[in-house]
Amino acid sequence: MTRKVWRPWGLFAWLAGILFALPVLWMILTSFHSESDAATNPPSLLAPLTLSGYEEFFGASSGVSPWPPLINSASASIGSTILVLLLSIPAAYALSIKPVRKWSDVLFFFLSTKMLPVVAGTLPIYLFAQFSGLLDNISFLTVLYTSMNLPIAVWLMRSFLAEVPVEMLEAAALDGAGLITTLRRVVAPVAMPGIAATSLICFIFSWNELLFARVLTGVVAGTAPVFLTSFVTSQGLFLAKVCAAATVISLPVLAAGFAAQDKLVQGLSLGAVK
């Protein structure tokens, strides 16, 4: 195969890319259409643009504000990401830089918890929350999201910390560097990209979560995905409104994911791919 034949591959790649992005582009375009233009067959691509879908999403006629669920989602996602980092970084340290005995068994224990079906543990968690008055409480959801993402974070952080050069740690120790100095000068430069990848993945998974939020929250602590499921009305046209809602709620994830594409790959592969 000569180099000239490569051109059609580029065309195929473009077609595939457009085909996969099409539903997303369609969602964004529809979100700027009026309800009647959004519900035509064939689709009216060139219909005039309007913000009415977004106005509806922000409660123009229903009076229901989407801000409480958005803020709930943000606090559960950010809060659990911080908790995950606080727990996973020391754990990853004890599994790579100064490994405990049988560190790989411990590592596999972490991963195995991720393979157990979440739904099978949901009822006891629900009953416990009901018993302790933690139903519809965003802090409780934050704790659950922490446990959901902790195994992934431990794997990711370990894969990064395992790359800290042992010789440099030894040299630092010989030079009499304290723990803080060693962490800052030797460990941190390697760990920082890992922390970024871990935060990104944990944030996305928490922001997206539906099952726990659906079961454990109600009016007060409902998150954005729960709000979205309640957004479809049985009467009248609603497609533009739903597309606007879906766009707004996906925006943080789209922005974070596009901005950190390489971190996304590292995170998704649990650090096996760098």
Binding site: P42, L123, F258, S269
Partner: protein, 319 residues
Amino acid sequence: MTASTLASAPPRTATRRPTISPRRAGWIRRAPLLPALIFLIIVTQLPFVATLVISFLRWNALDPHDRGWAGFSNYKAVFTDSRLRESVLTTIILTVSVVLISLAIGLGIALLLDRAFFGRGIVRTLMIAPFLVVPVAAALLFKHGIYNPVYGLFNGTLTGFWHTFGLGNNPPQPDILTVHPKIAVEAELIWQWTPFMMLILLAGLQSRPGDAIEAAHIDGASPWQVFRYLTLPHLRQYLELGGLLGSIYIVQNFDAVFTITSGGLGTANLPYTIYQTFFQAHDYGQASAAGVIVVIASIIIATFALRVVSSLLRNEVKS
């Protein structure tokens, strides 16, 4: 005190200061691990123990006075419940088809993106977009924006196509959600997971040893031979990784089934069925028995899966 001892002991070599007993040194090593480990055991393992206990109880929330020891009767009910048996099959079909098809399409697109062409960065960005739409939002978009028989994009495109090419005034307008509900759910999941597979496989392709491939080209190997004997063996562990991680997430999928079909029309998978038994039928005992069976099945599958990861881990340690 502990901080200075940690720092002054040469890392990874086991020369300890004589003042610290080996036992204490062991605990110092373990200390950073314990908060995460204890937290995870309490939050993720205790509920399963509770589920195990509840599975032997007669407990329906709608009938709170009739509570008691049930022995294995919940398990008997689960095994004879056709709804649960069907949902096992649905889960397997859903997971296997979504994982395999997204792996195959992901591989094809990764091979395309591995070549240099105009606008490669843009195409890569376009390809990632499906994975970055919140799953519930994506499911709603597919249900109403694409599958809707009256104004969905799919039928809308068919109409536009028929009109543009003068194929008549009666374009096919299938109601995909009622005619092919399983395919509808699977297609949405494949759309969301293909970018995930593509990213992992693309990273694998780009880590191929370039000199070996060049040497093969010089020696007159055909592109197919290069793919079959160099690229594919190299990609094997990336395919395994993508398949494993994809399975972990898709086996537990709840959002798509819940949103697109509400488990109707034979699309209810295990997570959805158990959720329904818990929170709609309120039969806590029977749902817990189903949960226990799912956990046991997961452990069996996970044992195989972990072996795959462990081979990946060894490779990583070696390199």
